[in-house]
Symmetry: D2
Subunit: 348 residues, 4 copies
């Protein structure tokens, strides 16, 4: 069989090594090129000993003109802003791109520019598709650029979209999203806050109400449901390597039963491979999704009936980044959506 | 100097070892008796090697008639329900008791009985004082029984009481309390959910909206402020040994400025040794209070001005249990309130 | 294709859930039966939410007469001693068994009985084969009973056997094995020492010089090399879920060069899928093998040339238990040895 | 009472914050100056929120001419080599110094220069005293410069010195020291290997046989015992914040009984406040010493009687650095040796 050649631009971070882990075992693609400005010439297995004997490439520089010919589909795992022009150059070379930065996630250019910086490729932004297959599956295969969703937004949009669509959220109210992420979400760059001794045995909120994933959630939830929600998003840093658990507090527009909530979620996601709705009253955990592409969703209606609680768990590096990127690649290439992604969480 | 003799009934759990850690260095008291049904005759230092060379006692059985004479003040660190009659027997023997179970925390017997079980000592319950010194300091010295607050309630009542008192909470709304606790909060008893491999690299909510600390918070907040709040309390289990971080989302009754919030909290707690108000915008962390008796409080007003966010951090075994119990003991004995409690968090 | 039906007797522990994780994705076998005395009737996914949607079985009781017909090959993951007669009954029913207890690992019955208890099935013990494929591959396919190696012995025998075979170990000397294991090695049973708060932020040796894996190592190293080594084995408990790192100090019989050591190891293992020899001077780590079936081996010759240091890393639940058991199953069934085992370590 | 004024040069690392934690509560000294080149002007409590309300200083630059007058005794917690001239300048200004770098630890200048770099202050080096009070207590009070011992050497010299002194080590043999350290030992500087996701759930050896603490151990053991031992030292990195556990394998010169070993250690250390000899067969753990200045020592004689095993546990930041430095300061100032150091390990 002819495997499709793929490349990763910016492969020396945690998203990069996770893409390599998944792609190395993917039956229908072949990883041909991995780039890292910082580690040009270094064998991948030297930086990431877990890939010893598995990925035999060395890092190269990411000059698009040099590497564009070597693959058909590109993952860009670069910092925000850096991806802008690299993606454009790859498109100009006729390639398809799954971009894991925020640069092609927003529909409204103004919103991107309000929270990030000037967007240098507005036409391409308009063309890009938000790569959340469970909600926007049809548009993905026809696109050249997939804006791979943020990790937190994935964990929030999936449980919330059907609830919002069905009018359960009381208008004018604020949905509180209290989310907790493992430390790999902060990336592999050097910062005092990412040191072992700062994170271990610690826990704290950060960027309370000011995180850039909040507008992303609000915009895509509106696209999915037709209703613009008002979200108060507070992330916290967990002393674990992987995983996001989002606790979502929804002021209800009207009384509902827990059975009705279950039915709404079930109708939305019953056929989805990567969404697991928990039985009534069960609550998700990070361990149950670690290393897998699942999003586990639980829901609880407390006594007074005024609020619905939604809980979701994903692995931030899989469904929140590399796994979802491969899911998007599968759709782009016409492969089975779960190809290379049928893994079970590593427990314990 | 004559040291006051004290005893711990039920000293083989995490609260017990923490009480011993603090009391061993307390300059004005002497630990004379420690009991443990399960470990009668075992030297304390065999069960807890950290106390080797420091606590030279062995565990004895907790027959009140035998041990009542050996100390003047007793800490009871027994499971809920077990404490009911032990505390009563100690009182009958003329002793003063700081009870770390839930058995003497509630003002309303009916509320206790709704969430726990029949209360066998209603007269003593009526007499007991809720031992949160920052709010109820005056009543403590005159009491025979101190109901030492629950760990979660301590972390929630302290930041919330002044806000509620000043009418900032919109009537009829729900205050969401999304709290996260280290695993020592689950105690030292054997349960699958407390195994290392189940907790490590994991995180999950539990008892969402049904935890027994919720009515305790609501009752004591009403006592402190005159207003009964409606709280939706969702605890989560953190992979750390110690610490509670509470994220509290308060729907506001009217627009406030962040300066006003700071002033309210400052007026309430400016003179308090064990409460540290963070500067505007700063957020607390578990590490900053680990091993200490502090409650750190931060506050944030997000853009839309509809909600106030309060964040608090305590060490669940210190300010959330043993440290607060010693603070209560100091008040009961007329000692400086911070005696034996001037410790600095262990960082890193 | 017709998948071979397999069963797991004793599937509610960590070895059990790991076997299920691997077998669920194995392309040539089908998991038909899982047993657990304690959880009869409970759906597997209720006990192990990671397997939700993946393993749809419920636990049954392990009466051999009832389940023997339902599978062709059995994994027994029972406590030592319990496996003795269950394995015998399965053999009597004409089934093949990979036993993950210690009951069929020893060649010398007397050695087993010295360290464990009376062996009730001495004929079967004589027939059983020690399932370390890299050293005893030829004997495995013809056997009915595979004694799946202990986790520590796997990590020690693999690096040491070639060194011993080539006469590098000074006769009459003691090889020090200072090994460190993640907590899943202690199993999922309830014991105070396995509680999160006891293991986390802690580290300690245990059973120094008296662990039952020491005679297993010595016996199998003699079988593999013809020379009986004297080993001083000291295990330590690590605050991680998974992994064994063994540091092995070998008094040398004669001066060697590091190149010679590399060549010896290379000759022994160059063709092995699951052994990765590190480049000279590189040292293994737990992270590089987590979740995979690899054994990574490093070697260092310190300045004075008197001692050779060997370092090995495995995942105790994979190469140290379930993965190796599946490797043995593949050999028994004539499947590719790495079938179902081509996984990459989960990093970070 | 007049408190002695002290200063910390280089206070923004983990040793610095630990010194501040201890000194803040020390009854006879007053911390007057803390320096940090990187954080000049920043309040200490901003960098280390654990010290909020406790240390009210801000960091200043470490120009000796400016700060020499402000304190009588100085702790230098600077990187190796940087300390060389700062210590000399402080001495020239008539101050006494406890230096926590390696710059004043070695007796033989040539050994220092072999493992570090040129020593610019050889006369001061000759004058400096190795600050291990349990072995060199008498020399400390008369000295101007204390070379505070390395963390690993402290954990190894203490258990080994009496054994070596009494001729128990077989001449010409190698003592294997397999040591494991928490991550704070690597300091607070930014390095990929200190990132949370690299250390957590990981474990690995490093600098096997080439670590610079090996010659320090050998030299000081010779000074203490008159016999130069040959040590093979292999450190490993533990996923905990604090603690060193050293497993020491001693080839015996002659048969001994465990009672004899116990007696030797007891004779050496019976009166020592900070050394706790465990009962026969008991093994130390990191948890039992966390946050305290204790060194716990255990000893085991395995069956064949050829090797003695010693195990020691310390908190690398306390007895391995800041606590020992304060112990040395107490001796220098004629204070009770345990002043400010009577703390109990934080468990759990």
């Amino acid at each position: 069989m002819n495997r499709t050649k793929v490349a990763i631009i910016g492969a020396s971070g945690y998203t990069g090594v996770e893409l390599m882990r998944i792609l190395a075992l993917h039956p229908q693609v072949e990883l041909k090129v991995v780039t890292s400005r910082q580690h040009v010439g270094m064998p991948v297995a030297e930086l990431f000993p877990s890939l010893r004997g598995i990925v035999k490439l060395a890092f190269v520089d990411h000059q698009v003109e040099v590497i564009a010919d070597q693959a058909e589909l590109f993952f860009t795992a670069l910092p925000h802003q850096t991806a802008l022009d690299v993606v454009a150059a790859l498109c100009a070379a006729g390639k398809r791109v799954v971009d894991l930065s925020a640069d092609y996630r927003f529909s409204a250019r103004s919103l991107y520019e309000q929270w990030y910086q000037t967007h240098t490729q507005p036409e391409l932004l308009a063309e890009a598709v938000y790569g959340l297959p469970e909600l926007f599956r049809r548009q993905i295969p026809e696109s050249r650029i997939i804006g791979n969703p943020g990790c937190y937004p994935t964990s929030v949009i999936l449980p919330l979209a059907p609830i919002l669509s069905r009018g359960l959220v009381a208008p004018g109210t604020t949905i509180v999203v209290d989310a907790k992420s493992g430390t790999s979400g902060a990336g592999r760059s050097l910062s005092p806050g990412s040191l072992y001794c700062e994170v271990n045995e610690n826990f704290k909120p950060y960027k309370a109400g000011t995180h850039r994933h909040q507008p992303e959630m609000e915009e895509q939830l509106e696209r999915a449901s037709g209703i613009r929600p008002e979200i108060l998003f507070v992330p916290h840093l967990l002393p674990v390597n992987r995983g996001i658990l989002a606790s979502i507090y929804v002021p209800l527009a009207r009384p509902v039963t827990v059975a009705e909530v279950g039915e709404i979620l079930n109708q939305a996601y019953a056929g989805e491979t990567f969404i697991r709705l928990l039985e009534t009253g069960a609550l998700p955990s990070l361990a149950a999704v670690r290393g897998s592409n699942y999003c586990d969703i639980g829901y609880v209606l407390p006594g007074n009936g005024k609020q619905l609680m939604l809980f979701s768990a994903i692995d931030n590096l899989v469904k929140g980044a590399a796994g979802q990127a491969v899911q998007n690649m599968n759709l782009l290439l016409g492969l089975p959506e779960d190809s290379g992604l049928r893994t079970v969480a590593l427990v314990p």
